[in-house]
């Protein structure tokens, strides 16, 4: 079972709240959900929308066409009427609105819609768009939002303006009725978002009236035996993972879509710790600093890490560009620091609120000179949580910066994660060679067999750091002999990591491992392919790359040997992961499924592309779904 639901409206008009209520309604019935949020770079007024998949099984993608659209304004209908296959719930009052009068819509979009309606001999209005959808078999559900609000106000004997706040629940109610969800359940969930009794009452009244408008066509009964689950978006998954993993310093400069992570940590900055030996509980602070810029953010995090604590920063492309110098210093000085890199559309400020996978090569090669760097990419929400702990461990074990890649899609989408998938209790802390009682003649960069030196917190021993080349004690040295030795010591740590980190953890395989078709992907598209594997008979193996440095060369090389089709599927133009595979294994992709329009990989378009590649051997497919 799989139903998809969409809600749209102007940013700042309660779309977020409505989507949250709806998500809660279905997830508390025991269903799995996966929701994605799309928005413009603005505060109020521009079109924003949520797409939500509901399923009785775990789900990690959104389709290209939704079953139900909830809309209040004209733009939502115009933007999405082509993407709906079931029902459009719309506001009767906006039927007559002309395409050209919707100011908030981009002119390119308006022009496209006008042309389409013209070619279908339909008026260039909301009504025309609705008619177009109707011709394709979509059912229309008109709602007179104002009339319902007026009636509720009259019955409750309150001013109409008071009822405004519950207007959003009407659209939700019509869709939950369509889904066969009972009225009381919606009233209870929606009511919990309001503190005041009056609003709860108004909600119940509005829901009642909305329920009279339509008949149930689906049936979403309460699922019995649903496991314990958490509702997590990517930002929060990483934030909670970091706190759990012992992060105690986070600095950031505000940037979409990274800031939410830091703001979550700040809101939960005092944590409780339990000494497993004595059972004593103690409170401790996580310091979160909103820095003056990204240069400060990364260097504060690096400075904090010198004191022996777990430290990180979070940013996205434009911020990462500024951080590169600091990351180089951390590499030179063997500082464990985690940089969570939320990838959005570039170059420059690009598409600030849209997704992308185009910064992979940049993250991997960031910094002048050579230094070891670990790059991890999470594909799903539970991975994002576990990887937050993993990256903190790797940073300390190999004493080097670790870059954790999370795309906007993962950051801003949310899903229900079963408790056991988070691995709480199994996750551990690996602090590497951290020593709290260093010897008197302590040398921070002491030469060792594996290249990793014992690391003492700044203040516990006499130590020197410099971004210049240095000797074992951290003193500047340009001696060519020392340069050779210490350079090799640093670089050797990557070889050690390659030896120690199991390749199976750096790359995951799904589907028919013996198939002649292999899809190579990474990040959020992984979930889309996993869903396709579960729901179709398409024959392919899915190779999810989780670590790009150290790259699991032997595994990938062996796995790709002799395959007929190697399909690089990623959210960029250059097929960057494909290039990294070629660089490390010599094996080149044969086919490509690429997308760079700023929208996530959508399940149906990916399935179609995959069919074309596998069945018709199409070499390259450019995906263009999403509005």
């Amino acid at each position: 079972m799989r139903i998809s639901w969409m809600i749209g409206g102007a940013q700042g008009t309660g779309i977020d709240t409505s989507a949250n209520i709806f998500g809660k309604v279905v997830s508390t019935l025991g269903y799995y959900i996966y929701g994605n949020r799309e928005y413009h770079s603005n505060i109020k007024g521009r079109h924003s929308y949520f797409t939500l998949t509901i399923s009785d099984k775990k789900v990690r993608s959104i389709p290209e066409k939704a079953d139900i659209l909830v809309s209040f304004d004209a733009e939502t209908v115009l933007q999405h009427f082509n993407e709906i296959k079931g029902y459009i719930i719309y506001n009767e009052g906006v039927k007559g609105t002309k395409v050209e009068t919707v100011q908030s819509m981009e002119s390119e979009v308006a022009e496209r819609i006008s042309k389409q309606l013209e070619s279908e001999n339909l008026p260039k209005t909301v009504e025309g768009a609705l008619e177009s959808a109707k011709r394709r078999g979509v059912k229309l559900i008109p709602v007179n939002y104002d009339e319902i609000a007026k009636k509720v106000a009259e019955e409750a004997k309150v001013q109409l303006s008071v009822v405004e706040r519950v207007k959003n629940v009407i659209g939700i109610a019509v869709s939950t009725k369509l889904l066969g969800i009972n009225e009381e359940h919606l009233a209870k969930v929606a009511g919990s978002t309001f503190k005041q009794e009056l609003y709860r009452k108004l909600n119940v009244m509005a829901i009642k009236k909305a329920y009279e408008l339509t008949e149930s066509v689906y049936s979403l009964p309460k699922l019995e035996g649903a496991p314990e689950r958490y509702l997590l978006d990517g930002n929060t998954a990483v934030a909670i993972g970091k706190i759990y993993g012992g992060l105690r310093f986070q600095s950031y400069y505000p940037i979409t879509p990274a800031s939410d992570e830091s703001m979550y940590i700040e809101a939960h900055q005092e944590v409780l710790m339990e000494d497993p030996k004595t059972g004593d509980k103690k409170k401790g602070a996580v310091v979160v600093v909103q820095a003056e810029d990204e240069l400060a953010a990364v260097n504060m995090a690096v400075g904090a890490a010198l004191t022996g604590i777990r430290s990180s920063t979070a940013t996205s492309g434009p911020g990462f560009s500024l951080m590169v110098e600091g990351i180089g210093w951390a590499g030179m000085n063997e500082v464990p620091v985690v940089i969570t890199y939320y990838i959005r559309g570039g170059p420059s400020t690009g598409l600030p609120t849209r997704t992308s996978q185009a910064d992979l090569l940049f993250s991997l090669f960031a910094g002048h000179g050579e230094f070891p760097k670990i790059v991890v990419a999470s594909g799903t929400h539970d991975e994002a949580f576990k990887d937050a702990v993993l990256t903190l461990n790797l940073a300390e074990r190999y004493q080097t910066p670790v870059i954790h890649l999370v795309e906007k899609t993962l950051a801003n989408s949310y899903t229900t994660v079963p408790k056991q998938d988070l691995g709480v209790g199994q996750l551990y802390a690996d602090r590497g060679k951290l020593i709290l009682s260093p010897p008197e003649d302590y040398a921070r960069f002491q030469f060792t067999d594996d290249g990793v030196s014992p690391r003492a917190p700044l203040g516990k021993a006499l130590m020197y750091y410099t971004g210049d080349e240095h000797n074992e004690y951290g003193f500047i040295s340009e001696d060519p002999v020392n340069r050779n030795i210490i350079y090799e010591k640093r670089m050797k740590k990557l070889e050690l990591a390659d030896k120690e980190i199991p390749e199976e953890e750096r790359v995951k395989v799904y589907g028919n491992v013996n198939s002649e078709n292999v899809v190579i992907t990474w990040g959020a598209p992984t979930g889309v392919f996993m869903d396709i594997l579960e729901e179709t008979k398409l024959d392919f193996a899915l190779l999810q790359l989780r670590m790009f440095s150290p790259f699991p060369s032997r595994f990938v090389s062996k796995f790709l040997q002799g395959r007929k089709r190697i399909i690089a599927a990623e959210g960029n133009y250059l097929a960057q992961a494909g290039k990294i595979v070629k660089m490390n294994t010599g094996i080149e992709a044969t086919n490509y499924i690429l997308k760079w329009n700023g929208r996530p990989f959508l399940r149906d378009e990916v399935e179609e592309a995959l069919r074309n590649v596998i069945e018709k051997d199409v070499k390259k497919v450019m995906l263009s779904g999403g509005s």
């Binding site: 900055q269 400075g303 004191t307 022996g308 700044l458 500047i476």
Partner: protein
């Protein structure tokens, strides 16, 4: 301690940095804080001071302009450390100007020492942000066409709660100022007038010797909220005195403004009792943070 052995010092003979280093060594030693002091430097001649301390204090030689953020990270993670930033005028007021101003808004309990010689020494004498317009030092191909920043005024305007000026060749006075800066609760700034014998042939030792004088009539200490405004105004006025007479000494001192560390405490009361560098985040690899309440908030349950 082979690696700790004193090695070649890159500073030119006669460099003001020797006086600054000497004063810092004495101040730190006399205060008895060698074991928990960290000197953080940027890039350039000043930045290398963190490598040349020669007394048992740790040194962190960072990036051009970024010494302040590094220092802030160190201090906030471990507030028991004494953190002293050394930077040149190009470092702190050019490439790092944003950090110099921003740290003022935070009043982090660290010391910022400016090696003010008007030039970028290590890259052969280009004009630094404190060099006045029209000046042509011997290293410049033509007279400087930029106006100069007044570091003392800027520090005062940015919120530094201890602001002083000293002279690199008056080591005893400089040492006292640095001691006061370290002891100050809050963010301290010391502008050190420092001749560059190689590239700045205008603001030389002879030039400064004739002009610097110790302020006698200044009472820089803010004793109550009500006199804050007035003392700050007086300090700003005084900071503009420059030319035939150049005042050195303390311009402003205010311990009534809460430090950033105290501000953290308002949202995380355990901050001082269990600051980040002291926390035990694991025991035999087992994570100690109790995460259940955060996950509980995210739990999908019908009753929420």
């Amino acid at each position: 301690m082979a690696g700790h052995k004193f090695h070649w010092n890159d500073w030119c003979p006669g460099c003001g940095n020797f006086g600054i280093l000497s004063a810092e060594q004495q101040a730190i030693t006399e205060l008895g804080i060698t074991n928990n002091t960290v000197i953080v430097g940027g890039i350039g001649c000043s930045g290398k001071l963190s490598q040349y301390t020669r007394i048992p204090v740790s040194g962190v030689h960072t990036l051009h302009g970024r010494a302040i953020p590094f220092a802030v990270g160190i201090k906030l993670a471990n507030p028991s450390l004494e953190v002293i930033v050394n930077g040149g005028d190009g470092d702190l007021l050019g490439i790092g100007a944003g950090h110099f101003v921003s740290v003022g808004r935070r009043n982090v309990d660290i010391v910022v020492i400016l090696h003010n010689n008007g030039v970028y020494g290590l890259t052969k004498g280009q004009a630094a942000p404190t060099l006045f317009r029209g000046m042509k030092t011997k290293s410049l191909p033509r007279p400087n066409i930029n106006d100069a920043i007044n570091p003392v005024t800027l520090a005062l305007a940015s919120g530094y709660t201890f602001v002083a000026r000293a002279y690199a060749y008056d080591v005893p006075h400089l040492k006292e100022i640095i001691k006061q800066a370290i002891k100050h609760k809050g963010l301290a700034f010391v502008d050190i007038l420092q001749p560059c014998p190689t590239y700045n042939d205008i603001n030389t030792k002879e030039w400064y010797d004739k002009r610097v004088y110790k302020m006698q009539d200044m009472d820089p200490v803010v004793k109550s909220e009500s006199e804050m405004q007035e003392k700050l105004k007086k300090a700003i006025d005084k900071s503009y005195e420059w030319g035939e007479r150049i005042p050195i000494g303390i311009f402003y001192k205010n311990e009534l403004v809460p430090t950033y560390e105290e501000r953290i405490k308002t949202s995380a009361p355990s901050y001082y009792d269990n600051y980040p560098a002291e926390q035990k985040i694991e025991y035999e690899k087992k994570l100690t943070t109790i995460i259940d309440p955060l996950l509980e908030e995210r739990k999908v349950a019908e009753d929420n």
